[in-house]
Amino acid sequence: MKKKTDVWQGTLALMVLKTLAVLGPQHGYGVARRIEQTSENLLSINHGTLYPVLLKLEQEGSIASEWGVSDNSRKAKFYRITKAGRRQLEAEERGWRQASEIVARFVTLRGVEE
């Protein structure tokens, strides 16, 4: 089994937004599961840490929520991404891509051979 990684600060919001953008409205548990699945279980998140991020995104207007009924007919709060959220997602994706490219360049740097 591969070693699990912790979530980097600030990336959780991106994951939440992306998950909601791709998979449509989800409840908190659903989002947590999808993130784990997408990372092929490489990421370990405490589900509890997800809720403050959801609240923050909602307060910022990037996502909206309403109560609904889950697949197994349980009452749950569903989150969906808003227009502002999509804009934010685009911006964050751009920023992330840029950052990872830069880091990648350093990682692939080779020493000069004597």
């Binding site: 589900h47 609240l55 307060q59 990037s62 009452k75």
Partner: protein
């Protein structure tokens, strides 16, 4: 933008309440159940599934906590909670709240009321932009004992041409003009100013315009700008007044502008007219002919010291040049210097105003001590509650913050009530204030005053909350709870702190009482001063004859002779006289003279004296004693030998070992010799407290060839002086119906007015001292009363054991007296530190006058006796049974 939205949502969240909490709980619960169900699907047992779900979630309670915090604003919430708690506490004990608010309102209100004029006099005079950059240029002749006098036209020109130092410079001369447009002729206070006047002060007219440079020239200067007050008084605030032609001194002047109410400088001015100096006024020979008030505005980058140094450079240049009279000026130590405008305009009011400010500061301190005492008492009463809260985990910081919130809220309420008090107080203050001292000063609070009040509220809120908060920090929850709220261990400590506060209050009150007492004593001493003349029964009025009709002394003399003749024949008039300069009229003419046969050596000061021009009846009307020779008679007129009467001070100074009668003197400004024919007693000219000792030369008004400025007509009656004003007016009307006569006052009033500023300060300080006494007594009452409550068990036991009521009474009284005694001692020590502040205001009274100290200490002790008698009586009535059972 996103952040802003989030802040807003969180602020709204503060109001959210319980529904949001429930939602959070529901959402997290549904999450747990879904996870549990999935786990069950993986084949776990129910318990296992639930435990796994909890583990996976990682702390439901802490997530809930962090969501709750994130939903609202914890800082704001706890502040609101503190406020809510404080308000509830205040509502629950209205007596406490009212006393606290009133105490602080009195303290803050008194400070605001005093600060309002202080701000306008000393800090931010109204209607003047950047007053700190204004410099008044002054001239001095050190050897002649002339420390600060006005300037000459060449000096004005020098300041005006110093462009590198001053942006603008302007000159002003006060003149009184006769306005003949109304029903009766009246005299207006005019200021002849150079065109730059309004620019220097940065003052703009509210109607029309101000002077141009062309109008500030001789012969084109028939224009006038009205002061706001005169515009209302004389022209009924007519907006069409601009363009109107009025007659001033029988010349036509066109009104070109009206200033707003905020700019009225020089004080009490009615109308500004152009100065229009003749070109020859700027001749170097006119250098030592002073009579202009010169005001200049420093460039922003030029500090005051540099401007002052520049004036010294200018003066040295004059002395080293071949200026006519430079040698004389050098001997007299002539020089130029600058005075910051605010110091100049505040003048003598500065010290009293600062003393009052200090006094109200002390009153506020006392008020704070009192409210701190009250808060402490309240904490004692709530010690149990506080201890329970502390035991339940309320953090110490939280309890302290709560106390400070409460005291700040009370101070804020106090400030609001205080503002209303201050407005009324300032109105009263301005009404009581001596005439002229507060001209142009308004009572309504401006931004500065509001800021000051807010500061005072915050400071007094913190000061009165800090001692209770400190006590709270030391609260011993365990001990208090164990003691069951009875005489707990923290109780005595709080009581000690309250005692210290009361001692401090008493000390401050003693200082205020002593200060007020000393001023009162000073006042009594001043009223006993013999001014050297008898003011009783003498009425004076001012007449200023226009140059056009009365161009010289001879024609003026004809007018005055006629007035005096009619006056003397009026029923009830015992003596009538005219004097140019009478004691306490604020008129101060002076000049230098030479003695016959005495050539001043280089460097020797030239004799100098005050000058008065008087008619023969003057000495009799004022009952100034003749010591030697004779006074003027009707025979001393233009054609006869010129004569003068000097006073004893001048005789002693310049003819110490010889008889001055028959000696001759020559004024340096005129020609011809005057023979001394008499020596009269010295008269205090300006002030009962200070006598410069400067000698006086009296000239005969009927021998004067030059026209004189305003003259005082005097009428003395053995009877009631109220009819004299009418008699003088009638006599003047009959002599020349076009001439106004104004400023009717009895000499008694003039002498009394010279004391007006002192009377004002004394009264106010007295009022503050009594307030302080009252507050200190109130504070003592609170402490003693509470101590009786604390000790009721002990007292009950003592009474049960057969203690006599008198001994209980004495015990309580002596506690009060001990505290007050300590306060008096502390006050004495405090007085040692601050007595010098008052020294300049005292007259023939020592700052440590034992009588005053004894009286004030006695007053405090008496108040203390009364304040502790009331609780003591309660102590005596303690019923041993119920006192023991109450525990």
């Amino acid at each position: 933008m996103r952040r802003l939205r989030r802040m807003w949502k969180r602020a709204l969240g503060v109001l959210g309440g319980t529904r949001q909490q429930q939602e959070i709980t529901a959402e997290l619960e549904s999450h747990m159940q879904m996870q549990t169900e999935d786990n069950l699907g993986l084949g776990m047992s129910r318990d296992e599934a639930r435990r796994e779900a909890v583990l996976k979630f990682g702390g439901v309670a802490s997530t809930q906590e962090s969501l709750r915090d994130q939903m609202g604003m914890p800082g704001l919430e706890s502040f609101l909670k503190d406020t809510h708690y404080a308000l509830r506490g205040m509502r629950k004990s209205p007596g406490f709240t009212v006393v606290m608010v009133l105490t602080l309102a009195l303290g803050i209100g008194a400070n605001t009321a005093i600060f309002s004029p202080v701000n306008q006099i000393l800090l931010h005079p109204r209607g003047i932009s950047h007053p700190e950059r204004l410099v008044v240029v002054r001239t001095k002749y050190d050897k002649l004992n002339l420390k600060s006098i006005s300037d000459s036209p060449p000096t004005f020109a020098d300041a005006r041409d110093s462009r590198a130092v001053f942006e603008h410079a302007t000159a002003m001369r006060r003149v009184d003009v006769n306005y003949t447009g109304g029903a009766v002729p009246q005299s207006l206070h005019a200021a002849a100013v150079s065109a730059e006047w309004f620019d220097v002060f940065g003052a703009r007219p509210s109607l029309g315009r101000t002077f141009t440079a062309e109008e500030d020239q001789p012969n084109t200067n028939r224009v006038a700008v009205l002061a706001h007050s005169a515009w209302i008084r004389i022209f009924g605030a007519d907006p069409a007044v601009v363009g109107r032609v009025i007659e001033l001194n029988q010349e036509h002047y066109c009104i070109i502008g009206v200033m707003g109410p905020e700019f009225q400088w020089p004080a009490a001015v009615d109308v500004w007219i152009p100065l229009a100096l003749q070109p020859k006024a700027f001749d170097p020979g006119n250098r030592f002919n002073e009579g202009l008030t010169v005001v200049a505005r420093r460039r922003p980058n030029v500090p005051f010291a540099q401007a002052n140094a520049w004036l010294k450079v200018l003066a040295d240049r004059v002395l080293n040049a071949r200026t006519p009279g430079a040698a004389y000026a050098k001997n007299a130590d002539w020089g130029l210097f600058g005075v910051p405008f605010i110091d100049f305009s505040a003048g003598a009011t500065k010290t009293p105003v600062l003393i009052l400010l200090g006094a109200v500061g002390l009153v506020l301190l006392i008020a704070c001590a009192n409210s701190a005492g009250l808060m402490l008492a309240r904490i004692s009463a709530r010690a149990q509650e506080m201890a329970v809260r502390a035991a339940l985990g309320a953090r110490r910081g939280r309890l302290i913050r709560q106390t400070l919130t409460e005291s700040l809220l009370l101070a804020l309420a106090g400030a609001l009530v205080g503002l209303a008090l201050a407005y009324g107080g300032a109105l009263l203050l301005l009404r009581l204030a001596p005439e002229g001292a507060v001209a142009g000063i308004g009572a309504s609070p401006d931004l500065y005053v509001l800021l000051f009040t807010a500061m005072a509220a915050i400071v007094s809120g913190v000061v009165s909350g800090i001692a209770p908060a400190w006590q709270l920090a030391r609260i011993d929850a365990h001990g208090t709870l164990k003691g069951g709220g009875r005489s707990s261990t923290a109780g005595p400590a709080r009581q000690r702190l309250r005692s210290v506060l009361v001692i401090g209050e008493t000390a401050l009150a003693l200082m205020l009482l002593v200060g007020a007492g000393l001023l009162l004593r000073t006042f009594a001493q001043l009223e006993n001063v013999n001014p050297g003349f008898e003011p009783r029964g003498v009425t004076a009025a001012v007449s200023s004859l226009p140059r056009k009709q009365y161009p010289d002394g001879i024609r003026q003399a004809v007018f005055y002779r006629e007035v005096l003749e009619r006056l003397t024949n009026t029923k009830g008039v015992a003596t009538a006289a005219v004097g140019v300069g009478v004691p306490f009229s604020q008129y101060g003419g002076s000049g230098s003279f030479l003695r016959e046969g005495h050539t001043p050596a280089p460097g020797e000061a030239i004799p100098h004296s005050d000058r008065r021009y008087v008619t023969p009846g003057y000495f009799k009307a004022l009952a100034i004693p003749l010591e030697r020779g004779r006074v003027f008679t009707e025979e001393d007129r233009v054609k006869t030998q010129p004569v003068v009467v000097i006073d004893e001070n001048l005789a002693r100074q310049y003819w110490p070992d010889e008889d001055p009668i028959g000696k001759r003197i020559q004024p340096t400004s005129g020609e011809g010799w005057y023979t001394i024919i008499g020596v009269v007693g010295h008269v205090l000219g300006y002030d009962l407290a200070t006598d410069s000792g400067e000698g006086v030369v009296h000239f005969s008004l009927f021998q004067e060839k030059q026209a004189l400025p305003a003259a005082w007509i005097l009428a003395k009656t053995p009877g009631d002086p109220t009819n004299m004003a009418a008699a003088i007016r009638e006599a003047v009307q009959e002599a020349d119906p076009n001439q106004p006569v104004h400023d009717f006052k009895t000499l008694d009033e003039m002498v009394s007015n010279s004391l007006a500023p002192r009377r004002f300060v004394t009264r106010l300080l007295g009022f503050f001292a009594v307030t302080a006494l009252f507050m200190a007594a109130l504070g003592l009452y609170g402490v003693i009363s509470y101590s009786v409550t604390l000790r009721s068990r002990e007292i009950g036991i003592r009474i049960a054991l057969g203690a006599k009521p008198e001994s209980v009474l004495l015990d309580v009284l002596s506690q009060g007296l001990r505290l007050t005694g300590a306060g008096v001692a502390a006050g004495l020590a405090g007085w040692l530190l601050i007595n010098r502040l008052l020294a300049s205001q005292l007259f023939k009274v020592s700052a440590f006058d034992p009588l005053i100290f004894a009286c004030m200490a006695a007053a405090l002790l008496a108040a203390a006796l009364l304040a502790s008698y009331l609780p003591a009586r309660r102590a005596v009535r303690v019923d041993p049974l119920s006192a023991l059972r109450a525990e």
